[in-house]
Symmetry: D2
Subunit: 137 residues, 4 copies
């Protein structure tokens, strides 16, 4: 079962073209990735990673293709799938769908860091154990 | 039963003080008011007001007291209550609570406008009928 | 000479009513207050307060009256004036003007805290010395 | 002379890792592209494109590599260069630099649309004339 995060798109997300402003969309995708972690790690998202686990998750890459305008007419369902787990990094694919249409597809890569030293580190063991069986390409 | 809108506070809402940035909080309250409309009007929020009903809802006032920091540790429950319905305006009280504590309390006033003419108008009849029995002060 | 901060209002700040979204406006005012500090304290804004001076500045109140829609047609000039300096708090008035019209007027109050202990503290001496002669009511 | 847009990075742009939140960075780049248009077209950005010229500019792609954290310690200088002009689309490269370091490099593609019909159209003539001599790859 692929994880989906539902976003309630609103008036304030839209620009005068009456569709969601481009700059909002990466934020939707990031919210979905954070929700993926919260779902699988008992409520722990990036905030708890940093504060409790002292693990930072800075992004090194994102790319998005925008296929269809997003509006407040329908919920936006963001599917999140881990597509690669390296020694010190993880890649996600996020697809945002609305009313049966693919609105955007994105690829997001973050590294893991020691949040105190601000240095790269290997993926934490419980995260590796969780993610490895989920990888899809 | 008072309407409550749940907000999933995240990492990206927080500033280096590790609490939600002040500038995000009015946005949470506005999202809650929009969700109040969606809940009571069959999914219609400000977007549908403007596009389908040709009713604009520009805000003329907001005030907020911030009582307790907000963090991603708990959901933020935003209670929305209409507190006044004038000829051409409506006032809401929004209280944001987290972990049993009042985090903020705000007062928000918008007028109703003809979205085409961008002129003030009276509150639409179905909105008046809906809101009048709910008014609390 | 009253401090003014210029904001370049853009497409992404606007909603489908073709004017700036309400939720953006408190952010403009906060940016202007931060710019006030940067201007008067040799580049130090809230970030440097927290990181270098270990002084936090959490807000306890904001109120805004929205008088005129804001658009990308003109620069938004935000005048920032300190209106009260208490033992542990400061109040600002921010007026946003565009094309000669007052678009919003707001009042913002923050307290000073020890950023490590997250406890209220008195206003730092150099800030008190700077602000006292500027107070207008 | 390559166009540069200066961004005043602030406290509210940063997350608890004390650096700019990933989700803010595409917004900085979009602000820089909009400023590029305003600079070269006598103040006309996307808002004026839509409202006055009836030309829409929806984005179909963005990709960003994040090379160095961004903080409020320095201004962020965003260099904007058009790298391709197709029949109905334009591609920009945006490089964000701070304190002499490349912080991010991004590629952004938007199409041109008839804003009324919401259909693709060719690039407007004055835009084609302006952009063609600037193309760098």
């Amino acid at each position: 079962m692929t994880f989906q995060h539902e976003i309630n798109v609103t008036w304030g997300d839209c620009d005068p073209a009456k569709i969601v402003y481009t700059g909002r969309i990466p934020n939707f995708a990031l919210d979905a990735i954070n929700a993926f972690w919260e779902h699988h790690l008992d409520g722990d998202g990036w905030y708890q990673f940093e504060m409790d686990r002292k693990v930072g998750t800075p992004f090194v890459h994102m790319s998005l293709d925008f296929r269809h305008p997003i509006t407040p007419r329908h919920k936006l369902l963001c599917e999140v799938v881990p597509t690669r787990l390296g020694e010190t990094s993880i890649e996600f694919r996020v697809i945002g769908r609305q009313d049966g249409k693919d609105c955007f597809e994105g690829r997001f890569v973050n590294v893991f860091t020691d949040a105190i030293a601000f240095k790269k580190r290997t993926a934490p063991d419980d995260i590796r154990a969780l993610i490895e069986p989920m990888i899809e390409s």
